[in-house]
């Protein structure tokens, strides 16, 4: 049971308050980007390359321009005149907005058609004739590393290979030494495949440039409106579009999951065209464009190793990564972290030695490297460590739960210094796993498994006990293009005691309008119903880096608490003035200050706020407002213990998740209902890459599953009925002890599922399965170990 300090009416932390934002969504009154219509608005559609690697010989737009209603066809050469044909990526690489001579991946933007209507724009797109001279694309990242491989980025001066960067962390020598002397080592090559966030709303914008005012209003699907404003100013400042003349509005967002962090070429083209024509330009992607061209996630090839003693003590891990970044490094990572937070990959276990290295390469695939509901490459790391832990347990002959229990970092050992340099803030891993095991009935399941195996049936139990790292981040290490990754809150309380608060983050479904109000309600005792939350308009909200990487609660949530505390300090002064006592004589309970020992002598927060406007002490500033920019002292380290039970059909290889128990520890909980909802959603986005989703390309560079017909987003039928719970280990350095939760389940679920499937067929000699584990893939593996021969014989 979660204890609440505030009444239900105030609705502070711990209350499962129903969401304030629901009213408009359930009545069809949300305001998404495609709902925006401006007078004189034109529509843009984009011609895309059918080839993965080709020279553009000619673009003939004459037929398109003959269509009544087609206004213009904009090419890279047109943008080049204004130096707007390229843009910087978040990782300080460069990316074409529109190509001037070469296309580098299938579905890359080639030119844009502007028309009076979206149907006509589409006709115009079909009528543009582009002549290409195709080249053989480089699709395999290992081949891209070959010294003989053609150099893809010949636009980079002096570039002689396809290598982007090398990264490493940990003690190589010491790690090699442990491996050389260890009783037991296990090693596995694994691929964490390229996947796509596939938010149900695609990306799009309305760029509206007002020539008279020299002012741009940009309505766009972005998770980080403020950072985007700065990026636009950096790209377009030289044509006079400076930052004070840019207003970015992020309306309601139909799911983000990291896919709405990057700046896509379509946004920039729309801005450029609006700037040149003075008309508002709407651009809305189709689903196939979204899947085929927008940022991918994952695509890490990992060689993972673990060393330990024969009695099951983990001693060291060694990971080597090859990261396929596609045509440019457009990863959405903090600038100093080319592999994101991959170095969390030592997991929840107490051992002192690890070494990790990674190399990134260019290929002829779309650029990207976004989260897919994950804090910067944590999913890849967790998959590696949790698979290796199971393989190690198998090799030493220990139950995987037992082995984990024996290797966990102990509750009393926090803060814990990880071998890759993190300081884990808090955790109680033993309690989490114990609760998960008790809930699922672990011992009984193991007995059932023995029985079922004897009957020739396959059932598997898989565990994942992960540690996440979220809430980026402390400004000494974390920045994006130099901008420190703090976040902000501004609270204004009106004379009647009702408030509005604004944030630098932007909800895409996380429920900020409810949870931020609850944080402020907790601190000030103003009912959450009376606190209006606003985000997403750069003209009104304080600067912040946005919502991704489970950072909103750890950063902006903390900022809300800190700003509210500034106001409570002011409230105390006013209360002392009104009650004619000294501040030391006052005590706070949510909603009022009262005189110690005389509770009837009290002033409610509403009375105090009213006084701030009508009767404030001499020498004090009037009004009741505060702003806080919160720079976190550390990241937060949520954790989880997940257990998955699967049944596998021994003939068809169909895999059914029978049960899935998820115990999360995200520290103190603001709204249990919303946390649970986040966990449910994250789990379904965990089963997705584990069993269904992968972007597949052929050797010629064609995507083979670029629509929802073949890119298999799970429905309610594939998704099991999730069972969730929590342990609560507050973050000691965070003002409200919260850690962030939106992504934990996506990070933690895939290895639990794969471990379960491997466990179901482990007795046949199968040690590892690559995700997504489909029935087809499992069939091939079972066939390879001769299982079906035995069946037929």
């Amino acid at each position: 049971m979660i204890k609440c300090k505030t009444s239900k009416e105030i609705g502070g932390m711990g209350h499962s308050k129903k969401r304030k934002e629901d009213a408009r969504f359930i009545q069809g009154k949300g305001n998404y980007v495609d709902d925006i219509k401006l007078p004189g608005m034109l529509y843009m559609d984009i011609v895309r390359s059918p080839y993965a690697y080709a020279k553009i010989k000619n673009i003939d737009s004459s037929k398109a321009l003959e269509i009544p209603g087609v206004i213009a066809v904009v090419t890279g050469k047109d943008l080049e005149k204004y130096n707007l044909h390229w843009m910087p990526t978040l990782m300080s690489d460069t990316q074409m907005v529109l190509p001037t001579d070469t296309v580098m991946y299938q579905a890359q933007e080639v030119c844009a058609v502007i028309a009076t209507d979206r149907y006509i724009a589409r006709d115009g797109k079909e009528a543009v004739i582009v002549e290409y001279e195709t080249m053989k694309p480089l699709m395999d990242p290992f081949e891209a590393l070959d010294p003989e491989a053609p150099v893809l980025r010949s636009d980079q001066e002096g570039k002689t290979d396809n290598h982007i960067w090398h990264w490493e962390v940990g003690d190589k020598e010491k790690t090699d030494d442990v491996f050389n002397n260890a009783d037991i080592t296990v090693k596995q090559q694994m691929h964490i495949p390229r996947i796509h966030v596939a938010s149900i709303e695609t990306c799009g914008c309305v760029a509206s440039y007002n020539k008279v005012e020299n002012h741009l209003t940009m309505y766009m699907t972005t998770q980080a409106p403020h950072a985007i404003r700065t990026v636009i100013a950096l790209v377009a400042g030289h044509v006079g579009l400076t930052e004070e003349k840019i207003r970015v509005i992020s309306p309601d967002i139909g799911g983000g999951f990291g896919g709405k962090v990057p700046v896509y070429p379509g946004y920039v083209i729309a801005i450029a065209v609006s700037f040149l024509t003075g008309s508002p330009i709407k651009w809305i992607e189709d689903r196939s464009e979204n899947l085929q061209a927008d940022s991918f996630a994952r695509d890490y090839h990992i060689t993972a190793e673990m060393a330990g003693t024969s009695d099951g003590k983990i001693q060291a891990t060694r990971f080597k990564v090859l990261a396929d970044h596609g045509y440019t490094d457009a990863s959405a990572n903090p600038s100093k972290f080319p592999t994101g937070l991959f170095s969390i990959g030592t997991g929840s276990y107490d051992y002192g030695t690890a070494y990790m290295e990674a190399d990134a390469v260019y290929t002829n695939k779309p650029p990207g490297g976004v989260a897919y509901r994950c804090s910067f490459r944590v999913t890849e790391a967790v998959h590696a460590i949790e698979r290796m832990t199971d393989m190690f347990a198998k090799k030493v002959g220990k139950d995987p739960a037992q082995l984990r229990m024996e290797n966990f970092i102990k509750k009393e050992d926090f803060p814990w210094a990880s071998p890759t340099g993190w300081s884990y803030d808090s955790g109680d891993y033993h309690a989490g796993l114990k609760l998960a095991m008790d809930t699922v009935g672990y011992a009984e399941l193991r007995e059932e498994q023995i029985k079922l195996r004897a009957e020739g049936k396959f059932m598997g139990i898989g565990i994942s006990t992960f540690t996440e790292v979220v809430g980026a981040g402390p400004s000494k290490d974390f920045d994006i293009l130099g901008i420190k990754m703090f976040d902000s809150a501004e609270i204004r309380v009106h004379p009647t005691g009702k408030a509005i608060a604004r944030f630098g983050t932007k909800s895409q479904g996380q429920g900020h309008e409810t949870t931020y109000a609850q944080i402020i309600a907790e601190e000030l005792g103003i009912p959450m119903e009376n606190i209006q939350i606003e985000e997403g308009d750069t003209d009104t909200a304080p600067y912040g880096l946005g919502t991704y990487a489970s950072r909103s609660t750890p950063t902006a949530g903390a900022a809300a608490a800190m700003a509210a505390r500034k106001l409570r300090d002011k409230a105390k002064k006013i209360a002392a003035h009104l009650l004619e006592v000294s501040e030391q004589d006052l005590e706070w309970e949510p909603g009022k200050f009262f005189v110690k020992g005389a509770p009837e002598k009290a002033k409610t927060i509403q009375e105090i706020v009213f006084a701030a406007y009508t009767n404030h002490p001499e020498g004090m500033e009037g009004g009741f407002e505060a702003t806080h920019y919160y720079d976190p002292p550390n990241l937060t380290f949520p954790s989880g213990a997940y257990i998955c039970v699967v049944d596998v059909d021994p003939e068809t290889c169909d895999i059914k998740v029978r049960r899935f128990v998820a115990i999360d520890d995200c520290g103190n909980i603001i709204n249990p209902m919303i946390v649970q909802g986040q966990v449910h959603g994250g789990l379904t986005q965990g089963i997705a890459p584990a069993m269904y989703e992968e972007l597949i390309y052929d050797e010629a560079g064609n995507i083979l599953n670029g629509t929802f017909m073949d890119y298999l987003v799970p429905t309610a039928v594939e998704s099991p009925s999730w069972e969730t719970g929590h342990t609560v280990t507050p973050a000691p350095h965070h003002p409200i002890g919260a850690k962030g939760v939106g992504e934990s389940p996506t990070v933690g679920a895939p290895p639990a599922i794969v471990n379960a499937i491997v466990d179901a067929v482990a007795h046949l000699g199968i040690k590892h399965l690559e995700i997504p584990v489909t029935p087809f893939k499992l069939y091939k593996e079972l066939k390879a170990v001769g299982y079906f021969d035995k069946q037929e014989a």
Binding site: R287, D710, F776
Partner: protein, 288 residues
């Protein structure tokens, strides 16, 4: 996604529809449920210049037993099959199949005639019809003709329907005696086209001898196919485990799948074998 422009007519009689088909020639297409055609037009894989919408023509949607046949009007929706008392009580093969076709919204509009006339080996009804030994009625300006389902599918997206004709009715010999039928497909996720699908029908006499067997296969051949060797192996047998295993093996051997994202040839043959066995067992169960 937006289709190329086209002309549209919604005739209210078959005679008008035929006249329009003749007037517009080869570039005209019939619009029934539209849930295969319209997505293809939106993706610009299809670009008919005329659409002739036959949804407003009365009398093409019914499910009834008459003259020894189960007669299904070609414009009957999948949902009509799901909700029909005759179907759910006697022809469970349709209930099995309908549940696995696309999703409920699509089944509200998708028609059984369209599912067949599309001529796609990935659709589910062709195999079901083959197992049931159906015949279809094709209507045109010169009258009606009847075509056995065995002669209906000519190739990739092509059928026995000539230009100017419309599929109007499907006829299935009425189920009698110990009749059982079943359908299942392996799919990557709900609503997907089949990785492999099997329709099985058996008729058993009072001595337990199989008097009639029908096996149709989905998406494991360029056109919908009947597993003839399997059927022959079953008719006259006592449907023992060995008989069923033999039928399953023949179906697996005789199908002609191709490798795609859903699986390779070996896997699909394997699935055909497994599902044939299971559907035969289910059909036998239902026959009893």
């Amino acid at each position: 996604m937006i289709a190329e422009d086209f002309k549209y007519d919604a005739p209210v009689s078959l005679a008008d529809a035929f006249a329009l088909l003749h007037q517009y020639g080869d570039d005209a297409k019939i619009l029934a449920g539209g849930h295969s055609l319209i997505p293809m037009m939106k993706l610009r894989f299809a670009a008919p210049t005329h659409l002739i919408d036959i949804n407003n023509i009365p009398g093409l949607s019914y499910i009834k037993e008459e003259d020894g046949f189960l007669k299904i009007g070609a414009m009957s929706r999948e949902v009509d099959l799901e909700e029909s008392e005759i179907i759910t009580s006697k022809y469970q093969i349709f209930t099995d199949a309908s549940k696995l076709i696309a999703d409920p919204q699509v089944r509200n509009f998708g028609t059984i005639g369209g599912n067949l006339a599309h001529g796609d080996a990935a659709n589910d009804h062709p195999a079901v019809m083959m197992a049931l030994d159906a015949e279809v009625e094709i209507s045109g300006q010169d009258g009606k003709r009847t075509v056995s389902i065995n002669d209906f599918f000519h190739g990739f997206y092509t059928t026995a329907i000539q230009h100017g004709e419309i599929l109007t009715e499907i006829r299935i010999p009425v189920a009698s005696g110990n009749f059982g039928s079943a359908y299942h497909k392996a799919e990557r996720k709900v609503g997907d086209y089949a990785t492999a699908g099997v329709a099985a029908v058996v008729q058993i006499d009072d001595n337990g001898v199989c008097t009639k067997a029908g096996i149709g296969l989905t998406n494991v051949n360029a056109t919908p196919m009947r597993a003839e060797r399997s059927e022959a192996a079953l008719v006259g047998s006592m449907l023992s485990e060995t008989d069923i295993a033999k039928a399953a093996q023949y179906a697996s051997e005789d199908c002609n799948p191709s490798t795609d994202l859903r699986g390779d040839i070996d896997y699909k043959r394997h699935l055909v074998g497994v599902i044939t066995k299971r559907m035969l067992n289910r059909a036998i169960q239902r026959a009893k």
